[in-house]
Amino acid sequence: MTTSVDTVPAPDAPASIQPSGTASRQGGGLIRYLIVRFLLIFPTIFILVTLVFFLMRATGDPITAAQGGHVPPAQLKHLIHEAGYDRPLIVQYLQYLGQIARGDFGTTFTDHQKVTTVLLTYGSATLELAFYALIVAFLVGIPLGLLAAYIRDRWGDAVLRILAVLFYATPVFFSGLLLKLIFASWLDVLPVAGRASTSVELEMQLLPHPTGIYLIDAFRTGDPAAVPDVLEHAVLPAVALGLLTAGVFLRLVRTNVIGTFNTQYVDAARSRGVGEFRLVTKHAYKPALIPIITVIGLQIALLLGGAVLTETTFEWKGLGFQLNAYLGSRDFVAVQGIVALLAVIVAVVNFIVDVIAALIDPRVRF
């Protein structure tokens, strides 16, 4: 599930896609697996939320951290008392858990918004960015990975592998800065920052019930210039964030395709006269993709961490950008809330990914 073994096992465990429920025993296994996996979400969330709570509170309360030195001690004390931060830590912790259980992640200190509202307002932007980034990752990572496997152990392969390392080892804010420098500053072909031009953003705000996903909203305005404008703004952030994951995909596809090359069914195909290129693109390719689905779950964490940095680099007004803004104004209640909420999202997304992996790959269901 997590220390992902990047191999496709021996041919005696074929990665065939079986419709669940054909054999009753297997169907039962699947349901049991899904239930256990679902129940595991709760301890995961509990542990992460606990970790974040105690880390944030280990040294003090958010109000002192934010206001200490700026307001007189008496007023500080009053504020702390009012917010309930002078009660025993364990009481606060239990109350916090109760809040989380009710879906309340707190209210930001600076602008008095519910953290869940912050998520709804800015989450769509982050979602849109992550979606574009995944597209870039697939378009770049998988073909290059197949190519690397096809020319394996030659110099072209070495170049591609170094490229893969460069992709995922380059911090996203640096690749973002380089892309901005080249395409926005020197060549002046793409916008420097933001999600859309001001005029387009105004148009979209006039829409009834904007979705917050700019591509959809741009379509709805009916303005022919809006869609290209939104896409233009998305190119650089998507590439910066997408290349990170593309590097991981490239490496994974290469390893797995080479792994499937050693299996007997590929040997059989080869002996029937199937060409080497066709072997890569048709035969070895599909089973090699299964591990990618499992790894996408881990990529969510990478994308979320990367989104904070990408959004800051490109002033992409999503959750990460907002988190950084709260950090800047030292609103640690908001920071704690957003981080806890992201923990829940990570746990749920990982569950979904594991379910998808189990549905298409019977081996996962133990």
Partner: protein, 332 residues
């Protein structure tokens, strides 16, 4: 090939040739040897630069003026006086990039040592003794494993320093957060190996003879359970200094008066880029990329060499290939 299987051979090789990286260099050929060697060379250069930063850098990381007392000036392009130009704050880019290597490597060492000691120890105990503690630890490690390390780093840096970082608090925030995220990785790998190894006959024989648990754990089990560590160490190292840079980029890193730090420099370069000033972003950024490249190349090659399906061997290499059971996927 792991040290374990080399040790298992009747004729021992010289100590030098059994050292982790030297052994793999001897074993590799062609492209793989090239990649491993490139990684080793790049990383060694950084270590040397970090140690001799005082000698190499013309100015201090916080110097605003030279020996003549004149200010460097803001955003000076690269030239004779300033090899890589100056930043918007009037600091010498070359000197700060050089000193940045020292900060990065300190973080790497602290983070790797902390995570490895804790992770390996917990994995060893958990895998060997099993029981409820084992199950709880597995669930906890699974929970933390998938969480974005940068977010934890932010939380921890707030905890350690209230967000205003001096030299050591910046280093410790990055190192601690990486430790929290990487302990599960060491834990999982070591635990899996321990569970496998403890069923082996030699462990049982040791028990029969009446060896104490501690002796069995550290003399017999530990040595045979750390084969996949080199790869994790390299991932851990890369993640450590990149998290430090990420914190710096978000403004939670080390203050420029306390140390040279690449992430801080890149944050300050964000505005420069829009006006076409390239030298403030390029050099600290490349410093990060090359260090990450060096360490990752080492890790990738070591991983490939441990995986028989990916290994190319010399035709005359008379070694028995013991297949690695776990190949850890780079996912950071």
């Amino acid at each position: 090939m792991s040290t374990a299987s080399v040790l298992a051979q009747p004729r021992k090789r010289s100590l030098l040739r059994r050292l982790p990286i030297v052994a793999q260099l001897n074993q590799s050929v062609g492209v793989q040897r090239f990649m491993l060697l490139t990684g080793v060379i790049i990383t060694s250069v950084y270590v040397l630069v970090a140690i001799f930063a005082d000698v190499i850098a013309p100015y201090s990381y916080s110097a605003l003026s030279g020996a003549d007392g004149r200010n460097f000036g803001s955003q000076q392009p690269p030239g004779a006086a300033h090899l890589w130009g100056t930043t918007v704050g009037g600091l010498d880019v070359f000197s700060r990039t050089i000193y940045g290597a020292r900060t990065a490597l300190i973080v790497v060492v602290v983070a790797v040592v902390l995570s490895m000691v804790i992770g390996v120890l917990l994995g060893l105990l958990s895998g060997y003794f099993g029981g409820p503690l084992d199950r709880v630890l597995v669930v906890i490690c699974d929970a933390i494993y998938a969480f974005p390390s940068l977010l934890l780093a932010i939380v921890i840096s707030i905890m350690i320093s209230g967000g205003q970082s001096t030299f050591w608090s910046g280093i410790l925030s990055a190192a601690f957060s990486i430790t929290v995220v990487y302990v599960p990785q060491y834990f999982r790998v070591v635990r899996a190996e321990v569970v496998r190894v403890k069923a082996e006959a030699f462990v049982e024989s040791a028990k029969v003879i009446g060896a104490r648990h501690s002796r069995i754990l550290f003399r017999h089990v530990l040595r045979n359970s750390i084969r996949t560590l080199p790869l994790i160490i390299t991932l851990n190292a890369t993640e450590a200094f990149e998290t430090l840079a990420g914190l710096g980029f978000l403004g939670f890193g080390i203050a420029p008066s306390a140390a040279g730090e690449w992430g801080y420099d890149l944050q300050k370069a964000l505005a420069d880029v829009t006006s076409g000033i390239w030298w403030t972003a390029l050099f600290p950024g490349l410093a990060i990329v090359f260090l990450a490249l060096g360490i990752s190349l080492m890790g990738e090659s070591l991983n490939d060499l441990a995986d028989p399906r990916l290994r190319r061997r010399q035709a005359d290499a008379g070694e028995s290939a013991v297949p690695a059971e776990t190949v850890v996927e780079a996912q950071s």
